[in-house]
Symmetry: C2
Subunit: 334 residues, 2 copies
DNA sequence: GTCTCTAATTCTCATCTCGAGTATAAGGAA
DNA sequence: TTCCTTATACTCGAGATGAGAATTAGAGAC
């Protein structure tokens, strides 16, 4: 543990001077897979980290600062950007531990359309399911979930107070759908935090956190520097939630695309397989796309129409999005 | 364009030292009206402000700091708390302008159940519609909206570039439902920001913002210190959105309540009138409440059953909330 | 040219959900 | 007992949704 200073009576103790770190989760979908832009953290064991940098006086707005940092670090120009959350606990493990000041991290979700190949620009586009293997249900229930279940259950059972135990069990049931058996793809962050608390992810062991480890770490996903994996979880959760009521997917699509490409993009993000005819009906009923007139050949079958996003849709519908539903909703009590 | 600095090698100019302000929107519903806890800002013209205070080294987490400040400033102990957004533009007008450092404000939405009467504790519970009179549609379309419409339209028409004009008109259509005629109660923030940009709220004139003023300021709601009204707008928007898929309303209810009380609470927050039988059906179908066995007399009619929140509901449904719908949804193109 | 394969697109149908309205129940007061 | 008020229950039709079957249109094999 670090010496946690308690000087509460120094002159200007009324306010603490902190430095602010702007951190970007840069998302794209290529080849039907969701990708995050990562860099290699300098020191130590070369963990993956997210593009990030300190807020400086020249940044007029936070978002401006974020864009600047991502550009200088990766060469990537951002499209859509949305603030996610501000992390500010005093004892967070940080990738760039400079001094003993408190560091606030402001996380952003950003989307880019055509991720340039990272020729010689630094940065790697990685499939985000490398970091969260249990989140990809496109080919059915992921195998690693089975491996997580037992340690999680044992962690819950190992709580001291019975009330604690119940609380943990409830969180597990809610997040992973153990018991009820229903998976809610939006709860990415809750699941990561449970895995963390249970000591199942590598990050939890870096600074003497929980010690419950005994689970196959290989199955708990690739680690990231600092708490970047938590920020990534926050971003995925937000994006999965948001595509349902806001047309954000289109920020990831090329100007013209087929309905199948759109579906596959949504599937990639949500980590779910969808029913093709129903997906089409949804998109068309909502008026989210319009014809370009062109078609694609070379699909291997009947040519597909190329469509584009129809901007007027946001004016017509109150929640223009793709409300995908994982499975049949839980039926109410009989 | 701003000079985008590339000097990545100066000593410590790379990071700016900022102070952080924790700001709370404390919400309760009493007497069927939504309330915010406000204080009087010290200096100047005694504007209403939200409870807030700087982050200090003793605060281990941001939320902890927030709770501490609200308690010391108002005596109010918080229940539910949720981070909203971090405001950090360099040129924000702030209620407590200390020095020239950048100040980051982290806004929180917090809910309290039984707001203690503020006997001699500082702080006033104010109907939040005093700050946003156009947001209350419980008795039909609010009158002040008619007064806003014209100035807003003129502001849009007054844009320099035609593309700008179109963009403004689109935002107006989307936020206020002019034209389409459909009101979306969630877009509180967008509406406030439009009113601000159009110079229709007092805050816009405090520091030489836009100068479009000519609208009846009396109808544009009570002003607040700094950008607290924007933070309040953010909170209302978040809360209105969230009751639809998360059982947060119950954080505002007493332990036992009638279905009508619950409905009136939702109506107060959403600023809408709901269909009684359908609201009951919704609540009961979702299994959100259970009987307490007791009934209330003195309702003026048939006694009402007292129910309580049923915690298991969150385990059964993937989005346990009260998806209230303002009106018939927009029909698709013919 | 015809057949076959693949993927795009269209239809069907039963089941839910939801908005809206109507009917009945149970206290209190006149 | 009657009326008034509010709580609670029932009904109906339109639209949304989940699931699957049927049809269409290129490409390549023969």
């Amino acid at each position: 543990m670090e010496a946690r200073k308690k000087r509460r009576s120094t002159a200007d103790r009324s306010s603490e001077s902190v430095t602010v770190d702007l951190t970007a989760v840069v998302v794209a979908v290529t080849g039907g897979e969701p990708r995050v832009l990562t860099l290699s953290s300098a020191g130590e064991e070369a963990l993956d980290r997210l593009p990030s940098g300190p807020l400086t006086p020249e940044h007029r707005t936070l978002e401006q600062g974020l864009r600047a940092w991502v550009e200088t670090q990766t060469g990537q120009v951002l499209g859509y950007a949305e603030q996610l959350y501000t992390f500010g606990d005093r004892d967070r493990r940080l990738p760039t531990a400079k001094g003993s000041d408190r560091i606030l991290s402001i996380g952003y979700l950003t989307l880019v359309r055509g991720p340039r190949k990272t020729d010689r620009a630094p940065g790697v586009w990685q499939d985000w399911y490398r970091f969260f293997p249990w989140e990809d249900w496109r080919d059915g229930r992921p195998a690693c979930l089975a491996a997580l279940r037992d340690p999680l259950m044992r962690w819950a059972a190992g709580a001291n107070a019975p009330s604690d135990r119940r609380a943990r069990e409830e969180r597990l049931a809610l997040s992973f759908g153990f018991a009820s058996g229903s998976w809610n793809e939006d709860r990415v962050l809750e699941r990561y935090e449970l895995a963390y608390e249970a000591g199942l992810v590598a990050e939890a062991h870096r600074e003497g956190g929980s010690t419950f480890l005994d689970a196959p770490l290989a199955q708990t996903g690739r680690a990231m520097a600092g708490d970047h994996r938590r920020i990534l979880a926050t971003a995925i959760a937000r994006l999965r939630g948001k595509i349902k009521y806001r047309p954000v997917v289109f920020e990831l699509m090329p100007p013209a695309f087929t309905l199948l490409q759109l579906q596959q993009t949504v599937e990639a993000l949500a980590g779910l397989r969808l029913h093709k005819p129903n997906f089409r009906r949804l998109v068309e009923q909502q008026g989210l796309v319009e014809e370009t007139g062109a078609v694609t050949l070379g699909t291997g079958g009947r040519p597909a129409r190329l469509v584009r996003f129809r901007r007027e849709a946001v004016l017509e519908r109150s929640a223009p999005g793709l409300r995908v539903r994982a499975a049949r909703r839980a039926r109410r009590a009989p």
